[in-house]
């Protein structure tokens, strides 16, 4: 579906929090509202996050299947199937899903991630039940037909042409870096999909995929904003209760052994006028090693957030060997919506006159400085204040907050975590950041060079 359908390459977004009162940077952070949760008999997990300050409600359904779950020969299928979920359902003809949401004054979209696929609406509060009807109807029976499948294969191919094939730096580095950084098919394959795989997809493939992964027990329904808890629970049971229970596949392990050597690769970009570089380091398990992972998340901010950051100063202002730099954790920049295995990525655009090795050496030096000397408490406190403001900003939108709660429930088993992130990040110590830097070993980095092969055209 338009505008995201999922693959926000390089886009940096943070999970949401809901914070009531902040007396000063890093001070007491409390949840404004408790999160309510219950589970239906068919296994659907439901999270309600009420906040009645604006007359807006957000409805989201997260299915526990993403690009990493695709079988060999079916690259891109999770995303293609996401498109199929907008083609109508048992009681909703094609185009009517969009009309029913938009004619109520609402917006909608869906997106495919590494470990999940989500669908969501933001609407005036009076349209809540309509959104529940629409999500329940397609959870029960989407319209998987040959005509719809052929049409959406064409649409997805145009999406890939817009975002990858017809533009410079298309999908750099999220499509190519994992191929170098990881070993398993789950972690290395093209999540947008090859045209060969997409074109050979069949209705049977789609039906099987739906049957296997779109069971209510494999999903989280999260509703946030202007809602009454008791009334909403009644509506959820009314619309989702009848959806038939099916078996739920186990979450497949996507972790893999940590690398022990440098891996490198080169991609030629016939449309790019200047080279670029991406360095990726394997980081701690985002779920089971959460405390050390938080140190890595803040390290990325110390390295690259703003004019005062280490790499902005070194690469851009002091050495002048780069045009732009950024560092982030998680393939698409959200550190809190991924499972193992994942990376801290440092991405640099540099002039053609500067060799990639020079940039790489400078990045390693700056990380080694943090690993050796640590960060000053004052520097970390500033970075924490900025991180907190960014988390709060995300949480100001009902939809942003709701998606954050849903991702935390699905990935971490605790929606409440989204509300605690600001406080958890504020309590990270300089020693944790120093330790995180020490783990970014130059001997185990994955290096992807983008060579500008064509210049402007």
């Amino acid at each position: 579906v338009r505008c995201s359908a999922g693959l926000p390459g390089g886009d940096r977004s943070h999970s949401a929090v809901s914070v009531g009162s902040v007396t000063a940077a890093g001070a007491e952070l409390t949840l404004r509202h408790p999160v309510e949760r219950f589970t239906l008999d068919n296994g659907l997990r439901v999270v309600l996050a009420p906040d009645r300050s604006v007359p807006v409600v957000a409805v989201s359904v997260f299915y526990d299947v993403g690009m990493r779950n695709e079988p060999e020969g079916r690259t891109g299928f999770a995303h293609l199937f996401e498109h199929m979920m907008f083609q109508g359902s048992a009681h909703v003809p094609k185009m009517e899903h969009a009309r029913l949401v938009q004619a109520a004054g609402g917006t909608f979209n869906g997106s495919t991630h590494q470990d999940y696929t989500n669908y969501y609406e933001a609407l005036p509060a009076e349209a809540l039940e309509r959104a529940l009807f629409l999500e329940a109807d397609r959870m029960a029976a989407p319209a998987i037909t040959e005509e719809n499948l052929r049409n959406q294969i064409d649409v997805v191919k145009e999406e890939i042409r817009v975002n990858v094939l017809n533009r410079p730096y298309g999908a750099f580095p999220w499509l190519q870096l994992p191929q170098i950084a990881f070993e398993s098919f789950a972690n290395t394959h093209d999540g947008y999909g090859s045209f060969v795989d997409l074109e050979s997809s069949t209705v049977d493939d789609a039906t099987d995929f739906f049957s296997r992964y779109y069971a209510p027990g494999n999903a989280v329904l999260c509703i946030g904003g202007d809602l009454d808890v008791a009334e909403t629970e009644r509506l959820v049971r009314r619309w989702f209760g009848p959806v038939e229970a099916r078996g739920v596949p186990p979450v497949p392990p996507t972790g893999e052994p940590s690398p022990t050597r440098v891996r490198s690769g080169v991609v030629e970009d016939a449309l790019a006028p200047a080279p670029a570089l991406a360095l990726g380091w394997r980081v701690p398990d985002p779920v089971t090693e959460f405390d050390s992972y938080l140190g890595t998340v803040l390290l990325a901010e110390v390295l690259s957030e703003g004019d005062a950051s280490r790499l902005e100063r070194r690469l851009i202002h002091d050495d002048r060997i780069a045009i732009a730099q950024s560092s982030y954790v998680g393939l698409f920049g959200d550190p809190f919506d991924v499972r193992d295995a994942t990376l801290l990525t440092t991405q640099v655009h540099h002039p053609a006159a500067v060799p990639a090795e020079r940039v790489t050496a400078a990045v390693h030096e700056e990380i080694a400085r943090i690993a050796g000397d640590g960060v000053a408490a004052e520097e970390l406190r500033r970075v924490q204040a900025r991180t907190e403001a960014q988390l709060l900003r995300q949480a100001d939108s009902v939809l942003g907050r709701t998606l954050g709660f849903a991702a935390a429930e699905l990935i971490h088993g605790r929606a409440e975590l989204a509300g605690e992130l600001a406080a958890r990040l504020a309590s990270v110590t300089p020693e944790q950041v120093q330790a995180a830097a020490g783990a970014l070993d130059p001997g185990t980095v994955a290096v992807l060079e983008l060579r500008a092969a064509g210049g402007p055209r």
């Binding site: 940077a25 007359p55 359902s89 009681h91 319209a143 017809n166 533009r167 939108s397 402007p456």
Partner: protein, 453 residues
């Protein structure tokens, strides 16, 4: 699998709940700066927007002004009499802020979010930048090189090539014809020119500061008055000259050899924010291609699979408003995609939309206005744009009333004037060897080289 829509199954909408009313407090400082402060419940943050009109005064200086503006917006942060670049960034960061400065053909925009306790210190840094930015020689040299490199990268994007070509074809010698500065002019920008430009053109009179969020209006207004009192300057910030556009028939085809898609762009005039026709044109735009439930999306995406992202919009700049259509389509269906787009425009201009189409579009526009002003950041950006047009928060309610009253006949009249294909200038970026011939069967085609190459 799906039967025709049975509306009895669809839950009806409940009673609408009242929209929050935004109480804006407006003041004007002695230096001429207009200040708009809006307290709002929500997260403990404040959003800041300072809009400084910063247009080229005319065609003659537009090229040089655009180049200087592109460098100035980054170089402003390189140092003040009291702090270097790192010092400024650290001061901001300790209050959760990171100031961005951006330029476009109309204005400079200073924007940041910040933690509420940092309001006065952040305003003090802003005041320091406005009154004592130094444009130090050596750092400016570095910034200038980076801006030139970034422009080269931007110009390799097909969407940028298409936007630039459409603007040049529509506006000819008005400053709006220039979307990106010439890298050679950027490389020639001297620090002394930036200091002069800042002194002459970064002026409080005509500018507006918007603060939205967790704040006390009186205290916030006092903090602004205290922090920005020393920002002085003679004269008034410069608005662009009124834009007239040329309407050329036929298609300009910008050749991009080997392109696997063609970028279709159509553009023409639209009513201004204060024009009584605006509400009807916005609704006609929605029915045509302004949202997913539109005719254009149903036709060239959901029926024919030609494109991922067809879209139309109404866009306002200080000196012109536009109706714009865009679609990136597979090379082999470039001709058919343009044909279907023109067909849908023709339907809009010749035959009435249905009441159901109009009601859906109306509810969507009203709902999306409510959503986009339901965050501190969304409301601050909306109010800043309105302030730039000399309008206040009341415009939102007035426009909502106008939208509520639009009739099917008014939509037809608006579409006949603004959505008719002859009113629109056409530019396509694509592989001329493959698409010129099919396009010539629809209209005269003028093939041009990519000026950015």
């Amino acid at each position: 699998m799906s039967a025709p829509l049975d509306l009895t199954r669809v839950p009806p909408l409940g009673e609408p709940r009242p929209q929050p009313i935004h109480a804006a407090q407006e003041t004007t400082l002695p230096n001429g700066l207009r200040v708009v402060v809006v307290p709002r419940p929500g997260v403990p943050l404040v959003e800041l927007r300072l809009r400084v009109p910063f247009a080229a005064s005319g065609a003659a200086d537009a090229e040089v002004h655009t180049a200087r503006g592109a460098v100035l917006s980054g170089a402003l942060l390189l140092g003040t009499e009291a702090h270097d670049q790192t010092g400024i960034a650290e001061l901001m960061q300790s209050h959760g802020a990171e100031l961005s400065v951006s330029s476009d053909p109309d204005r400079l925009l200073f924007a940041t979010t910040l933690l509420p306790g940092g309001l006065r210190p952040v305003l003090d840094v802003l005041g320091e930048l406005l009154t004592s930015a130094t444009y130090p020689d050596d750092p400016v040299d570095g910034e200038r090189s980076r801006v030139a490199e970034r422009i080269a990268i931007a110009r390799s994007q097909p969407g940028v090539i298409a936007r630039s070509a459409l603007a040049a074809r529509r506006y000819v010698d008005h400053p709006y014809a220039i979307q990106l500065p010439d890298p050679e002019l950027v490389a020639a920008v001297e620090p002394a020119a930036l200091r002069d430009l800042h002194r002459d053109r970064v002026l409080p009179r005509g500018s507006s500061l918007v603060l939205v969020g967790d704040l006390d209006p009186e205290a916030a207004a006092a903090a602004v008055a205290g922090a920005l009192a020393d920002w002085e300057g003679s004269g008034q910030a410069v608005e662009p000259p009124l834009a007239t556009e040329r309407s050329l028939s036929g298609i300009e085809l910008v050749d991009r050899p080997g392109a696997v898609q063609s970028n279709l762009r159509l553009g023409g005039p639209a009513p201004r924010r204060t024009d009584p026709d605006l509400a009807a044109v916005r609704l006609a735009n929605m029915v045509f291609g302004g949202y997913f439930s539109s005719r254009l999306v149903e036709n060239i995406r959901e029926r024919r699979g030609y494109t991922y992202s067809p879209h139309s919009s109404v866009d306002h700049q200080a000196a012109a408003s536009s109706f714009l259509v865009e679609a990136d389509v597979a090379t082999e269906v470039t001709g058919p995609a343009l044909l279907e787009t023109w067909y849908e425009l023709g339907r809009m201009a010749l035959t009435a939309v249905t009441e159901a189409e109009l009601d859906a579009a109306r509810r969507y526009v009203l709902g999306s206005m409510a959503l986009s002003t339901a965050t501190h950041a969304g409301l601050a950006s909306t109010l800043s744009a309105l302030a730039g047009a000399g309008l206040g928060v009341d415009w939102l309610a007035e426009h909502q009333r106008a939208l509520a009253a639009v009739t099917v006949d008014e939509v037809l009249a608006a579409a006949a004037r603004y959505l008719a294909a002859p009113a629109l200038t056409a530019v396509i970026v694509g592989d001329a060897e493959k698409v010129a011939d099919p396009l010539r069967r629809l209209a005269p085609v003028e093939v041009t080289g990519n000026p950015q190459a």
